[in-house]
Structure formats: structure tokens, C-alpha cells
Amino acid sequence: MKHEDVEKQLENYKNKIENISIPETLLDEAIEKGMKQHKESKVSKKKHRYYLPKWTWAAIIFLLAGCVWTVYLIDPVFLRGNPSWESAMQNEYYHEINYTEKKGGINFTLHGVMMDEKNIVSFITIETENKVEYASIGKIQLFDQDGKELIFNGSYGSMDDDDGTKKRRFRHTVDAQISSDDMLKNGLRIVMDVHVQDEGVDESVETFSVPIEVEQIKVAKKQQYEVNETIEIADQKITVEKVVMYPTRAEVHVVLDSTNTKDILDYTNLQLEDGKRNVWGKVTNGVVNIMDEKEPHKDILYLESSYFQVPEQLFMTLSKVQAVNKNEREIIYSMDEGKIIQAPDNGKLIDSVFVEDNSLVFAINTPSEEEFPFGMFSYVLDEQGKELELYSSFNSIRNGKGYYGLELKNIDTLKGNIRIPVQYYPTFLEAEKEIKVQIK
């Protein structure tokens, strides 16, 4: 083929392709099979995209499950998947604020808050004039009545399914935990940036500032149980220090032994129970665990709260954790050679790695989406440890395999080894029998 003829040859190629005969009957059969496949499929395996806000390193998952039938002061969709919030609402720990402000085509409403000595949960709706791809909450700041900025850990959850359709209304929860218990005694101001994204238009950002008059709010007192018991799971020692019960969540404070060979990423089936078949499991809506960067051997795990049920006895049970070797907490990938240099469990679960649509994608053999409903990555570092600009991280299940992707800025020009810390990874440790610790 003469090189100058390529365009002409493409034209010929097109004509040839157009002349290929079409097996009409077989084609119609294939279409019918596809329609039947759709009808029979109970679960659509669509792409889930999680937008991780920059201001938090807390691990978050958005699993919107279950329904709430009670009529409340706010849209029940806000309480889905979080029985503790539902109980707090029933026990009148929800304080209506109904602050509304319209700015730059964005109608912002903070419906109300739930507060205890440490946490403030805000329920927010963002409405736009036209349907847009996404309206999210970015930077969040908290100030006391003197204008001093408060330090907090937090997460935000989107209450609407990211199904790829454009919408006019976006519902969010912001869950902030303030470091010091007494900071909520004063007046508060929540300041947050709202980002609106739509195709073909530059992202717009507006800042909203909401005053919260704390003295008018019913603030719940915590219940604290000292435990100090060490448990062992596959030779990894974990000391349960205490359990603190707030209306909106229970905190299990654990300390990991310095001799442990593994980093524990998730406490798979951790729950509280009262011995009478009542159980309080993981929250599926909001923060699920916090690791303090200054004290990496300490962990705070969040569970649903039994605060309002006040059981006579309370136990903590656990038999399975997600863990990786301490020196394998990140995947190191060579952009030059296109190969994995290091990965948890020697990369045994990684099937392939490829670049697609500006994303670096890892195809990984994972358990089902129900057993492993996590994204694996939330940030990427270059060789020097500098954080690379990450547009989004996502995961999807296709053909029975998990694809975990990182959409990176200028992926084609990235050089050297990049480091991708794993937040979750499907390698597990199991105890021979269930571990049970008495809390109360």
C-alpha cells in the first residue's frame, strides 16, 4: 500500500465493509437475546464513580441501601442506610435550620443538623437552574463564634445514585467530627464550596456560609465503655481500648500491636450485639473508619449506634479482616515499562494493567461486588512522593472481574514509577472461630 494513498484506501475499506452481507435473521436473534439478557438481569453492572473530596482522607463509601418509611422533617432519602441517623431523628436530635441561599444559578439549602459532643451532621440539597452532570461539595470549613477555624475530620456522602444522567437536584450529607469535645459549645459557622460540573462548560464554584446557633440545639451526651482487651486474628494483635456511643454512631477505638506483620484495611464483619439477636453493624452511609496519620497504630472504627436502645449487655464480634503485608501497602507501577514493580500479595490477584480513556486501570480478581464493595485507590504519588492530579477514581465489575481505575491528568506524559497506596484490597485474614468481646 502506498503511503500517500491511506485516505483513499480508507475510503475503499469503508466501501468494502459496507458491501459485506448482513445475516439479517441471525442479527435479529442476537438483538432479541440481548433484550432477554437485560430482562433477566437482576443487577445492572454499571460503572460506579466515586468522587473523593480533597479535604478528607477518611475512607468513605456510598452504599445506598434499604428504605425508610417513616415521614420525617427531611427527605427520608437522607437517612437511607443509616439506622443511627433514623433513631436520632425519632428521638428529636434533628434540628431544623432551613437555610436557603441562591447564588450564581445555584440554590443551596441546608435543611438541618444532628449534633452530639463531637459530631455535626448536615443535610444539604443543591438545586441548579438547568440539568447538569454533577453538583458536589468541595472545600468545607468550620469556624467558631470568634471566627477561629476549627480542625475536623469529615466526609461527605452523595445521596443520589451516580447513574450518569443529568439532574437538577443533588442531595448531600456532610459529617464532620471536631477534634475537641468542647468546641461545639459555641456558635458555629459552616462554610462550603459547591462545584457544578457540566459538559462543555467550565466548572463553576460558589461559596455558601451558614450560621449555626449551637445553644438552641439539643446536643446528646456520649456514653463511654472502657474495654482494654487484646484479641488476636491470624497472629495479628488488636487491643480494643474503648467503645464510645454517640447518637449518630458508635466508635470502637483500637490499638494495633507494633509486632503485627500486616496492616489492617477493613474489619470485615465487625459488629455490636446485645446477646438477644439485636445487632449494630457497619454504617453504610458516611465515614467507616478513621486512621490518624500521627498515630497510625491507632484506629477508630464506626458502627451503627445502640445509643437509644440502651441494651443490658453489649458485645463486639469479629472473625474476618482485610489486610496486606506492612511493606506492601502500595502498588508501585512503572509508567516507562508499563509493568508492576510492587503490589500487595506479590500482585497475585492482578490480572492486567492498561491505559484507557486517560485512566490507568487495574483488572483485579476480586470477590463479588456484594463482598467487596470498595474502591481501592484514592490518591497517587509520583516517584518523589508528590501527589499527582487525580480527576477521579472508579471501579466497575465487567465480565466477572473488578476494574479499578485512576483518571489522571496528562497520563500520556507521566514518567518513572508511580506509587498508588491501597485503601482497600481483597486479601483477607480469618479467625478460626468468632471473637467475642464484652463491652458492657
Binding site: H3, K14, I17, K33, H38, D163, S352
Partner: protein, 167 residues
């Protein structure tokens, strides 16, 4: 066509069938050019029908429905090729072609396979399906000039590859 598309987006199955009827030949031919055998091309048509049904509600530009179907087809073909290479350890050129006597087709396909998935998609959309630069720019969320540059650069690459093949 746009009226039927809008109905299909709204969940009308009858309209979806009509839509499939208008695009099925394009889907099949695209699948055949990627997968080479009738059997695999039909498998692609089935999966594309399924994927389209799941995602049709998310279509934002009904006017670009054909491009949307072709892109689903190409994405699934790329998935399938990747899976098959992995499972069968086969070089794709070893798979018998449905039109293996036609050297022109084979020669062009061999060249197209040397492009990246993205580059091949641009060429297929532009030169096989005649999609305008304007539409491609909107679909790939860029401006028309950038789209043109990308396509022409890919064309240069094809020229270069063709020239290399002559030596």
C-alpha cells in the same frame, strides 16, 4: 430518527427495537471489522443490545445516537479482544477472518490494529461511519480543531505504518 431515539430514551421498548433496526448493520459491520468472525460479531451485537438497554436513559444528545452505539460496540470489542488475548494467549491475526480472501481489507485491518484503541476509534468513526468533526469534538469533549489535529495525526501515523510495511 431523533423522535424514536427520544422515545427509546424514555424507556419505550418498541422504539428501542426500531432504533436497533436502524443501527444494527453498523454495529455488526463494526464488530466484524474488530472481531473478524461472524460468530463473535453476533456475540457483540447481543452484548451491545444489552448494554444499550442499561444505559440508554443516560443519553444526552439524541442526535448522536449512531455514534453512541458505535462507541459502545468498539468499547466492548476492545474488552473482548483483551479478554481473549488473555485467556487464549492468541495473537489476533491468528483468528480467521470472515473475508480472508480480501487482501485490501486484511491489509487495512492489520494497519488499524497497530493503532491505539483510541486512535482506531477516531479513524473508524471518521472514515468508516462518516461522523463529522463537530460531532466527534462534542462526543470527545474537545473543540473541533483539536479533534481534527488528533485525527490527522493518526492518519499520519497510518501513512507512516503503511510506508514501513512496504520496506
Amino acid at each position: 430518527m431523533e423522535k424514536i431515539t427520544k422515545k427509546a430514551i424514555a424507556g419505550d421498548k418498541e422504539a428501542f427495537m426500531q432504533l436497533m433496526d436502524t443501527v444494527k448493520a453498523d454495529i455488526y459491520r463494526t464488530a466484524l471489522s474488530y472481531m473478524k468472525t461472524e460468530e463473535l460479531a453476533l456475540e457483540v451485537v447481543q452484548e451491545v443490545t444489552y448494554r444499550a438497554l442499561i444505559n440508554i436513559h443516560s443519553i444526552r444528545q439524541p442526535a448522536y445516537i449512531k455514534t453512541w452505539f458505535i462507541r459502545i460496540t468498539i468499547n466492548y470489542c476492545n474488552d473482548l479482544i483483551r479478554e481473549r488475548k488473555k485467556v487464549l494467549q492468541l495473537d489476533e491475526t491468528m483468528i480467521p477472518s470472515a473475508y480472508e480472501e480480501d487482501f485490501l481489507l486484511l491489509e487495512m485491518e492489520e494497519l488499524l490494529e497497530k493503532l491505539s484503541n483510541q486512535e482506531r476509534e477516531w479513524i473508524v468513526l471518521k472514515y468508516i461511519h462518516g461522523i463529522s468533526f463537530k460531532e466527534m469534538a462534542e462526543v470527545f469533549r474537545t473543540n473541533e480543531n483539536t479533534m481534527k489535529t488528533r485525527v490527522y495525526k493518526t492518519l499520519d501515523k497510518l501513512r507512516h505504518l503503511a510506508k514501513k510495511g512496504e520496506v
